[in-house]
Assembly symmetry: C2
Homo-oligomer: 139 residues x 2
DNA sequence: CACGTTGTGTCGACCGTTTGACACAAGGGT
DNA sequence: ACCCTTGTGTCAAACGGTCGACACAACGTG
């Protein structure tokens, strides 16, 4: 099931791409399973065909699907991350208990990510803001 | 630590808002702690002040922070979801083991979310695409 | 081979966001 | 009371994404 939320900060193309990726990684879309055609999905979601085409293109560049001219777009094997799906379900349950929204739960993931990442991977040389060390003497 | 990724599908304001939310929910920014000035953060991240102001405004409307004219913007108490942060860390570890990116891990959360949600909450009447039931005979 | 299907690319137009600069409002420090 | 700090709001202009329609390319079917 795919839908486009007009209130999302993400554009239609990115929403479609992300939802398809989620379906593939969760195993809801099995390997070799066929995705709807660009035009069909565009009609269903009330978006332009080019928008769906962009989503498909990015999925193909990511290696998640393969696209052939008249054969349609199909899921590539090796992307069913069912193992990592279990921890994701745990997080969803915990988030639901606290009344968090999906976006808030994803924000938690982002927080845990940088907390585990900033020390290992040196961030690209992008403009950053660093907080003054709160220190143990804070307060 | 906050940074803005030009390659992200999210706009600068949304990125800043999301990262601040993550810092607050993870407890990296404690209650009553002061956020950087709108202008200061704008300079650090090389974005317009109005962009940071928009992020702060949305954070305040969400109740995560309080803004006073000359006292700056401070974190509101009661948003340190440290409990739910542990499952998020588990997910991050699992995702890292599989070589997933942050966006991919978040896609897994989205997949788990709808999987647990679609059956309980009737989605708003938005245009949707439904996949033909794969059935047990699929393959 | 002929035809329909499907993915891909292009084009001008529209709309939301960001930008950069500025003025204003309101609290803090002295 | 004065002035600096800080958040808020406005404005025109530039930018990017989407739209909607169309033409094209390649594959499958017959």
């Amino acid at each position: 099931m795919i839908s486009v939320d007009p209130a999302s900060p993400l554009g239609p193309a990115e929403q479609i791409r992300g939802q398809l990726e989620a379906l593939i990684r969760s195993g809801a879309l099995a390997a070799d399973e066929r995705l709807p055609t660009v035009r069909q999905l565009a009609v269903d979601l009330r978006v332009a065909a080019g928008t769906v085409a962009r989503a498909y293109k990015e999925l193909e560049e990511a290696g998640l699907v393969r696209a052939a001219r008249a054969a349609g777009t199909r899921v590539n094997p090796g992307h069913d991350d069912g193992a990592a799906f279990a921890p994701a379900s745990d997080l969803v349950r915990a988030a639901r208990r606290r009344g968090l929204t999906l976006a808030e739960a994803q924000a938690l993931v982002a927080a845990a990510w940088v907390g585990d990442d900033a020390e290992t991977r040196p961030r690209a040389e992008r403009p950053v803001h660093r907080f003054p060390a709160p220190g143990p003497d804070a307060g």
